[in-house]
């Protein structure tokens, strides 16, 4: 399998991961599309340097989340990107308004967290264990636990306050 085919396979298998990062770090559909493509582009650029020994998802999260931080400073759309359909509404295949509303509220509150908290909670929700989170984020494993508890409390109080 050549490089391009391998890369395409990896991206297709992990497109959900990229989409979720794009949702959490942007506020509009346009920005989401731009970030999504930027991440794919950055992954492609570093695909050669990807060390097979390290976990694929660790590498992907790292590149995607770092790219998302980079992307924050750009407020205007400066390049022509390829139109892709990243509207969250399209995922509401089964129309369950209550579920939909809960997801929306959760996303809204995660958006208000600072960058570090956002990164940690994303990985936690994605089912990563403390060690993996520590390795991607670059903090100690014990610190991960403390931070997760604090973020959960923070989100809980925010959600209760809104209700």
């Amino acid at each position: 399998m050549d490089k391009k085919s391998r890369f395409t396979k990896v991206i297709k298998e992990n497109e959900g991961l990229l989409f979720k990062v794009a949702i959490l770090y942007t506020h509009s559909i346009q920005d989401r599309e731009d970030l999504y493509q930027e991440v794919v582009y950055q992954l492609w650029k570093s695909f050669d340097t990807f060390n097979e020994q390290s976990k694929l998802s660790t590498w992907m999260y790292r590149v995607a989340m770092n790219t998302a931080i980079y992307n924050l400073k750009i407020s205007k759309r400066l390049v022509n990107t390829i139109p892709i359909d990243l509207e969250t509404e399209r995922f509401a295949e089964v129309v369950d308004k209550t579920e939909e509303e809960k997801i929306k509220i959760l996303n809204e509150h995660i958006q208000t967290l600072n960058l570090l908290e956002k990164g940690i909670i994303l990985l936690y929700l994605e089912g990563k264990n403390h060690q993996e989170i520590a390795s991607i984020i670059g903090i100690t494993t014990s610190n991960v636990g403390t931070k997760i508890s604090r973020i959960k409390e923070k989100l809980k109080s925010k959600i209760i306050k809104k209700q």
Partner: protein, 190 residues
């Protein structure tokens, strides 16, 4: 919280947003990375400054009085300095390693550089104010006009102009300071 997230993940996994063709297009040379393109406005601004400086250099001999010649030199120096400050701060923002850095390192670098950027922006703002004040008599001198003969120039036009720019600068300064304070707080939390 986790069940809501899992619900969203399930829906996302079910969909196929990308096809081979789209992925290939994204990796193609035609798609220029946004990160490599940032700063177009800064480059245009710099070019404008250098063109203005060239204009002043060409017309320098038309200025007769020493004081206006001195102001013209200061203006030229400012026109050269402003773009350097702007481009320097921009370059600083672009040099972060996306592929190898750990997330917390990227945040730290990003925050530090952002702080530097805003500090430089504040300096830029003061220099731009200075530039606007001294550019007027310099241009009047090049065109052979006596600014003293303009009605209400010193009594109304200049004070209104200064008052307007001073309040604008004050608001902008406070805005930048607030951003810097928040950034410092976030850095402390890391």
């Amino acid at each position: 919280m986790k069940s809501n997230w899992d619900e969203m993940s399930k829906r996302i996994e079910k969909q196929e947003i990308l096809n081979n063709h789209l992925i290939e297009k994204m990796t193609h040379q035609k798609y220029k990375s946004k990160l490599e393109k940032i700063g177009n406005s800064e480059y245009i601004g710099s070019l404008t400054c250098y063109l203005a400086a060239t204009y002043l250099i060409i017309n320098f001999t038309k200025i007769e009085e020493f004081i206006f010649q001195l102001l013209c030199i200061i203006t030229i120096l400012l026109l050269f300095t402003l773009p350097i400050i702007s481009l320097k701060s921009l370059r600083g923002m672009k040099n972060i390693s996306i592929h190898t850095a750990k997330y917390s390192e990227t945040i730290k670098t990003f925050m530090h550089r952002k702080m530097k950027f805003y500090k430089l922006q504040r300096i830029n703002m003061i220099l731009a104010f200075l530039l606007l004040i001294i550019l007027l008599p310099v241009l009047a001198s090049i065109y052979g006009k006596d600014i003293n003969s303009i009605t209400n120039f010193w009594t109304i036009i200049v004070p209104v102009f200064i008052a307007f720019f001073a309040s604008f600068s004050f608001i902008t300064w406070r805005y930048y300071s607030k951003i810097l304070k928040n950034l410092e707080k976030e850095l402390r939390d890391l």
